[in-house]
């Protein structure tokens, strides 16, 4: 009885849209039709995806983008947290400044970086020019464009990993770290042998959260490159949005969304699986300890 409201909300807010999307992926549906008027085409949309090179290209771009940004963000975020985990004067202000990028709307981030990358008036090329170097085609050459969107994403999302790692670091048992100092561990050895292993559970969840987010990235890239040049920065979310709005293929777009959803679901299951495993292990440990007493 008590579950009824929750079940109702779950049904309306979650299952209905997903069911709608799955249903739509079996239709040949364009935006001028009502959903009832669309033709049922069975698996045709999915089969078409199998042979759609643009789709596979954008999937590959997405996977590359997500793995590179998350790797870079983890290294930078955890590194910064290690550096700033100390009580110096003004550290709290510095920490606040560090997490500012995360609070800016993605559209604004995209506009800001597009302006900075601008071939003539952008700060980067102006600086290069004043130093006597050739300008760099930040957004007009495939490899540079890919690197440019990666840089902007790293700029915006490193703070997320930074604050989570900092929280993890500060909740580590102080005495274990002191014990390692007495045992002769240098700063690096403390990080490698004590801090990182103890932070691992938090770091794994952080990676998965960021991966899920990175797979769905849209606005910044839409504003900066709109997927170009060519398909070099066309991530899945962007490809889906163009399929729906430019090519007017709602059924196909729905099918692609389902593939993306499936990918993300795999990641989420990995995450839940990991936490389940942890819980099981700690339960087992506690029982073993109890039997001992």
């Amino acid at each position: 009885m008590f579950l009824a409201p929750a079940a109702a909300i779950l049904g309306i807010a979650l299952l209905y849209p997903i069911g709608y999307m799955i249903y739509a992926s079996f239709l040949d549906w364009n935006p001028s039709q009502r959903i009832g008027e669309a033709d049922w085409v069975g698996m045709r949309n999915y089969l078409k995806l199998l042979h759609d090179e643009a789709f596979w290209e954008s999937t590959w771009v997405t996977i590359r983008f997500a793995s590179i940004v998350v790797t870079l963000e983890m290294i930078l975020g955890v590194g910064l947290a290690m550096l700033l985990d100390r009580n110096l004067r003004g550290m709290s202000i510095l920490r606040t400044i560090f997490i500012l990028p995360m609070m800016i709307a993605p559209i604004v981030v995209g506009l800001m970086w597009r302006y900075m990358y601008h071939p003539q008036v952008g700060i980067f090329n102006r600086t290069l020019k004043s130093l006597g170097f050739d300008p760099i085609p930040f957004l007009s050459e495939s490899n540079w464009a890919f690197a440019s969107v990666i840089i902007s994403d790293v700029w915006q999302w490193t703070p997320f990993i930074f604050i989570l790692s900092l929280a993890a670091l500060q909740s580590l048992p102080k005495s274990a770290i002191e014990a390692s100092r007495i045992d002769g561990a240098s700063g690096w050895q403390q990080v490698l042998h004590i801090k990182l292993p103890l932070m691992l559970p938090v770091l794994i969840v952080t990676v998965l959260l960021r991966l899920i987010d990175a797979f769905k990235v849209l606005e910044v890239i839409l504003v900066m490159t709109n997927g170009g040049p060519g398909l070099s920065t066309e991530v899945l979310a962007l490809h889906i949005s163009r399929t729906a709005s430019e090519f007017r293929e709602l059924g196909e777009a729905a099918a692609m969304s389902n593939v993306l959803l499936f990918l993300l679901m795999l990641l989420t299951i990995c995450m839940f699986g990991y936490t389940k495993l942890q819980e099981k292990r700690s339960l087992h440990l506690r029982q073993a300890a109890k039997e001992e007493v």
Partner: protein, 359 residues
């Protein structure tokens, strides 16, 4: 095994002074216990010796070398923490061998060292377990094992037994005493428990508010406390304190209070005759009383009688103040009726009521 010297050691956080000019020398191979109520600065002192806490003034010397700015790892000491501070992600063997692995010892040497210490502490069958799979007492042993494997010259203990239950604590205390006799190293031990201090220490340092109150062997502290604080802190049940006046009569010194007058031993005379007529504090150990009648015996009411077996602890009143008396008892002593007691004159401590120092 080095000598450790603290010279005018100071610690303050901002304007708040925690340790206020400590001077102490800990000799080679000595078991020193720092004891005092919480907040007296004993743990801070230990952490400064270990190098975990920066010092605000003065010097720490190990073997004549000033170590003020030396990293903990360069001071050649091992520390057992109050909460054990085991590495939760490593099993017992890894926990114990961590320092040796960092120092890049040969694998065979590490194994033999770990096995040797594990055997000594009865940990052999737990070597593959993680700390979470161990009971409190076992974790405590692993923490000691980790210190022992290192073979450091000085062992520091920061209230290592305070997280254990009473029975286990007594057992670990005995094991610790045996261990310290076997390995013959410098030991510095911090505790708030005077029983631990008395049973373990060769030398006890009693601290209060960042100052040393008295340094001495357990017997010295018990027999001749230097001040009221030490007298009240050491010994269980605690010493009774009463106001009294010194007087001399027929060549003998007496302490006289409300309803009692007790003679002091003749050897006190040279020390005390100059204080004749002054009001002082006297301290009487509960065990200085014995049941019996005779010269100088006093009659005291028995308000409450607690029979503990070999002893009875009696609550009584003397000089208008509640006092405790501890007597050996074959049979329970009934409360209500007054009894006669003889006070052992050797057991009367006299303190200046202003400076609180022993006279």
């Amino acid at each position: 095994m080095p000598k450790i010297e603290l010279i005018n050691l100071q610690k303050s956080y901002g304007a708040v002074s925690i340790i206020d000019g400590l001077d102490l020398t800990m000799e080679d191979g000595e078991f020193t216990v720092f004891v005092g109520p919480s907040g007296c600065g004993k743990s801070t002192t230990l952490r400064m010796i270990a190098g975990l806490e920066a010092i605000s003034g003065g010097e720490i010397r190990i073997d004549g070398r000033v170590v003020n700015r030396l990293e903990p790892k360069d001071r050649d000491l091992a520390l057992v923490f109050q909460d054990y501070a085991l590495y939760p992600h490593m099993n017992v063997a890894k926990n114990m061998s961590f320092a040796l692995r960092l120092a890049r010892y040969e694998k065979s040497k590490i194994n033999s060292r770990v096995n040797e210490v594990a055997e000594m502490l009865g940990l052999t069958e737990y070597l593959n377990r993680k700390p979470a799979e161990l009971s409190g007492g076992q974790r405590q042993r692993v923490a000691m094992g980790r210190a022992l494997v290192r073979d450091a010259s000085t062992f520091l203990f920061d209230e290592p037994l305070s997280n254990l239950d009473a029975k286990l604590r007594a057992q670990m205390r005995a094991e610790l005493a045996l261990m310290s006799r076997r390995i013959q190293k410098n030991m510095i031990y911090v505790t708030h428990d005077q029983v631990e201090a008395m049973t373990l220490g060769d030398r006890i340092v009693v601290m209060k508010s960042g100052k040393i109150m008295q340094v001495g062997s357990p017997e010295e502290l018990y027999r001749s406390p230097a001040n009221l604080f030490v007298a009240g802190f050491i010994g269980s049940p605690t010493m009774n304190f009463l106001k009294a006046e010194l007087s001399e009569e027929g060549g003998q010194i007496f302490v006289t209070g409300r309803g009692f007058s007790l003679p002091l031993p003749a050897k006190c005379k040279p020390r005390l005759s100059s204080h004749n007529g002054r009001t002082v504090m006297i301290g009487l150990r509960p065990s200085s009383f014995s049941v019996g009648e005779g010269e100088g015996s006093i009659e005291l009411p028995i308000i409450l009688s607690e029979y503990i077996g070999a002893q009875s602890v009696l609550l009584s009143e003397m000089g208008g103040q509640k006092i405790t008396i501890e007597v050996s008892s074959e049979a329970p002593i009934p409360s209500g009726a007054p009894m006669n007691f003889v006070v052992e004159s050797e057991g009367i401590h006299v303190f200046d009521s202003d400076t609180e120092k022993a006279l």
